[in-house]
């Protein structure tokens, strides 16, 4: 089943005349892990933000089920956003260092206003346990956590609204390889358990190859190649994909 269908999406940043996303069309199917790979600056994060309407597209459509996200009202979008979440690359930048972890998670419920008081705290504890942290972290400041722990909090926060689709924007790129493996395990496990759908962004083909079903290769705002992981890794067609694979040190 098609969960999201994106057609002819464009975004130009006027000031610098950069075509960050230059005509993107693709579908994401329920329960799949779709990889998005490409070098720095090619437009991956911009595409992610467009899908969640965190920035406005110039033109195109984004169908989620039967609604075009680019056409629905802001209040409709706010409701829809509960089902569509994002985990960011930099666990340092995406958490306020002065906030306690409990607050970081409970804050999500304040925005969506559907869980109250004591229930919030119980939910927060449950989420912390899901991501392997536990109740003792409620009172910790995010500045006291390691990179891996922060990324777990980021994941807990994304899970708080019980989404069915999560964009993971370079969720492990800033982590050491051993911690990276722990976080990837957590993401793989959650995906299977909750039948989540991921758009998984990375410039690391090793990471993409290890967890994705399909891959889209992006270069300067355009899609140059897409297909099953098998096809892209075993039999890349486009020169750019080949050069990425060669660089990937997949020794």
């Amino acid at each position: 089943m098609e969960l999201l269908k994106i057609s002819n999406l464009y975004k130009t940043f006027k000031k610098h005349k950069v075509s960050a996303v230059d005509g993107a069309s693709f579908s994401i199917f329920k329960g799949e892990v779709l990889g998005l790979v490409g070098e720095s600056g090619c437009g991956k994060t911009t595409l992610a933000k467009l899908i969640l309407r965190l920035i406005d597209a110039d033109k195109g459509s984004i169908f989620y089920k039967d609604k075009d996200l680019l056409k629905i009202s802001h209040s409709d979008m706010r409701k829809t956003r509960k089902s569509l979440q994002i985990i960011f690359q930099d666990p340092y930048a995406s958490l306020d260092p002065r906030m306690r972890i409990g607050e970081v998670i409970e804050e999500v419920y304040d925005i969506h206003k559907d869980v109250t008081g004591r229930e919030k705290k119980n939910k927060a504890i449950e989420l912390l346990e899901t991501v392997g942290l536990g109740e003792t972290y409620l009172q910790r400041l995010s500045s006291e956590l390691s990179g891996g722990e922060r990324q777990r909090v980021g994941i807990a926060r994304a899970l708080a609204t019980d989404p069915e689709f999560i964009i993971c924007d370079e969720p492990v790129s800033s982590l050491d390889i051993s911690i990276q493996a722990q976080i990837l395990n957590l993401l793989i496990d959650l995906q299977k358990r909750k039948n989540l759908t991921y758009l998984f962004i990375s410039h690391d083909l090793g990471v993409i190859g290890s967890i994705c079903d399909r891959v889209i290769v992006m270069q300067s705002g355009k899609f140059v190649e897409s297909g099953s992981c098998e096809t892209i890794f075993r039999n890349p067609k486009h020169e750019y994909t080949k050069s990425l694979l060669e660089s990937a040190l997949l020794s």
Partner: protein, 319 residues
């Protein structure tokens, strides 16, 4: 031997973070130092030219460079080594370059001989693939991409024709394609100039692709050391095995990683016995008795694990 580090101990304040490291680098050799963030890699690298804050600082050891102990040199001799013989390239090229001076001015600063500097600088820029800025004397660091900045840094590092270059996570902030180019550049310069290199990184994949010998560091000590080929084909420490199992790849598709659980211990609260004990899949009570010594796994391949021989003789199943 160009560089011999012997029993190096370094601390910050009242905490020791390098707890007795031995490491040798031969002429023209690239030694890789791997370990997770905070294990002491950078501190080892900085100690080589005594670039460590004085308070506490280096408390024991010898650093023999061309057979003289760097720790015993006078300030003048030390300055000479730092400006001519041993140079550094760090992770963030932008923060290591001085934003208010042009690339030309900064490379000129690191030249050994200042005569004829323009043609020397042109030569250097060419050797690091920055032909584009030859003759453009008014180019500042912020006008270059991350990859180009790192090329400029490498140019400055080799300008004085040093015999040893310490590269501390030189490609960590760059993207894969650029990473590859920088690694190729480093290899090319190494061969051309017969450079010795200490290559520090937490990414095994990168170190495997560039180093001749590898040291794996954990909690301030080397836990495994040997020829790259030996370590790859026959890892001699459970920590190394865990790191290798954590490398993401297409071949390991859709399986959970056999990841190392938990996290590295704090230096202020190190476990007794083997420091890897709390995270080790092979631990037994005996591992708690004392911190294991480095022992031979095979010739020129050592490991700090009391059970490694059992593992290699198949007494323990290597799951």
């Amino acid at each position: 031997m160009l560089l011999q580090i012997k029993n190096l101990k370094v601390g910050y304040g009242n905490i020791e973070v390098v707890r007795g490291v031995d490491l040798n680098i031969d002429k023209g050799e690239c030694v890789g130092l791997i370990g997770e963030s905070g294990c002491g890699k950078t501190t080892v690298g900085l100690s080589i030219t005594k670039l460590i804050p004085e308070r506490r600082g280096i408390t024991s050891g010898e650093i023999l460079f061309e057979d003289r102990d760097i720790l015993k040199l006078n300030p003048e001799e030390l300055r000479n080594i730092r400006s001519k013989k041993i140079s550094y390239v760090f992770q963030e090229p932008f923060s290591s370059l001085n934003p208010v001076f042009t690339i030309y001015e900064q490379i000129k600063e690191s030249l050994e001989e200042k005569d004829n500097s323009d043609s020397q600088i042109a030569e250097i820029l060419k050797s690091v693939g920055l032909e584009k800025i030859i003759g453009r004397k008014n180019v500042y660091p912020h006008e270059l991409s991350g990859g180009m900045q790192q090329r400029a840094m490498i140019g400055m590092a080799v300008a004085s024709k040093p015999s040893l270059v310490v590269l501390d996570e030189p490609t960590t902030a760059l993207d894969v394609t650029i990473q590859r180019q920088i690694l190729e550049l480093i290899m090319e310069l190494k061969n051309k100039m017969n450079l010795s290199i200490l290559f520090i990184s937490h990414d095994l994949r990168i170190v495997f692709s560039i180093a001749d010998k590898i040291g794996i560091m954990y909690a301030g000590k080397i836990v495994e050391y040997g020829l790259k080929e030996k370590i790859i084909s026959n890892p001699g420490h459970p920590y190394t095995m865990g790191l290798m199992d954590s490398i993401p790849s297409f071949e390991h598709r859709k399986k959970l990683f056999n990841a190392i659980g938990g996290k590295a211990p704090l230096f202020s609260d190190l476990p007794i016995g083997c420091k890897f004990y709390p995270r080790c899949k092979f631990r037994i009570d005996k591992c708690l008795e004392k911190e294991p010594e480095l022992e031979n796994v095979s010739s020129g391949h050592v490991s700090r694990c009391i059970r490694i021989k059992d593992m290699h003789y198949g007494v323990i199943k290597n799951k």
